[in-house]
């Protein structure tokens, strides 16, 4: 049953993600394994999740849930993604002092952080093909926009929502009005 599958997928994602962007590779894996989302839709959800309130991971859960099974799907996916919070984190809250001094989580993160960096680079490389060569051939306009966005984000410290709005406007002009490939 799709609701149970969604829940289980997001339990897996929840327990193996450690905040923010680190959830994206896991979501990409789980969504493509089940054919729930295409790489294009994953790009879209990253952008949408950055523009709307709430943590990225839960926004992805809502999007994926609704797209696959409507509102019940969204609830199942969110509950799945929240399972570590409702179980492990509750335990940590009960034994807070003991947990704060324990080394096991920080030890794990020594390996999880570089693994997340590696996975994210992998996802970035595969999304490059989806986003800059949507029809199979490289679109110079898309590459140019990407470079512009990167410079704005890193050199001029423009906020993410502003960069997304600008890209949408440029997309309408360049792809819509001018009809560039």
């Amino acid at each position: 049953m799709v609701l149970i599958d969604l829940f289980i997928s997001f339990v897996k994602i929840g327990f193996t993600s450690f905040g923010g962007m680190s959830m994206i590779p896991l979501i990409t894996s789980e969504m493509t394994v089940h054919n729930w989302m295409t790489p294009t839709e994953i790009s879209d959800i990253v952008a949408i999740a950055e523009m709307t309130p709430g943590p990225l991971g839960l926004n992805c859960a809502t999007f994926a849930g609704i797209r696959t099974a409507g509102l019940p799907g969204a609830i199942a996916a969110n509950l799945g993604a929240l399972t570590p919070t409702l179980t492990l984190c509750l335990l940590a809250a009960v034994f807070f002092e003991r947990f704060r001094k324990s080394r096991i989580m920080t030890d794990m993160l020594v390996g999880v952080r570089p693994a997340c960096v590696g996975m994210l680079f992998g996802v970035i490389l595969s999304l490059c093909a989806t986003n800059y060569a949507p029809t199979g051939t490289i679109s110079p306009v898309s590459v140019g926009l990407g470079v512009l966005d990167f410079v704005l984000l890193t050199r001029f410290k423009v906020s993410i929502p502003k960069v997304i709005c600008l890209s949408a406007a440029l997309g309408i002009v360049l792809f819509g009005v001018l009809g560039l490939p």
Partner: protein, 190 residues
Amino acid sequence: MKRFREVLTLFLQFMQFGLFTFGGGWSIVAQMQKLYVEDKHVITSEELLDLTSVGRSLPGTMIGNVAMLYGYRVYGVLGGLACVFGMIIPPMAVLAVITHFYTLFQQNPWVAAAMGGVRTAVVPIMLSAVLGMLKSAFRYAPCYLVMLLTLGLYLFLDVNCVYLVLIGVACGIVIAEYYERKGDAGRGAH
């Protein structure tokens, strides 16, 4: 009855936080700092920092974890649940509406053109996030190997990321334990 009303207040406060949390989890911590540390003096700034660092080190959504830890601290299990669900309901409602319209207008040529532009921003956004993670990701030299290993497994063998994280967990414990035994004086220096 008083207790019920207080838990309800907590729920409503976190609904408000949830509605104004954009991007990462840090904005909610900033809002908690303002309301609970500076205005109401429920907890101290150090306690909030402790909650945040434990919340960050646990799997799952960081702010979900911070909400649970804070709620439990002030009103036990019920408080924790009130904070977590209060915080997730508004973004879920907003995104449900957006997803509905996304599905409706996906095929519209103007929307498609706008999304084509937006998609060009996704790789730069992710890239700048990864660049920000580089500083804290490589505490010991073998961490670079872990990164190369996971990148290779992802790209060439298409291994599911769930397993890649588990590999990271195992490597982390081994690496940290090794350097701990070696008596690395640099441990704890972030």
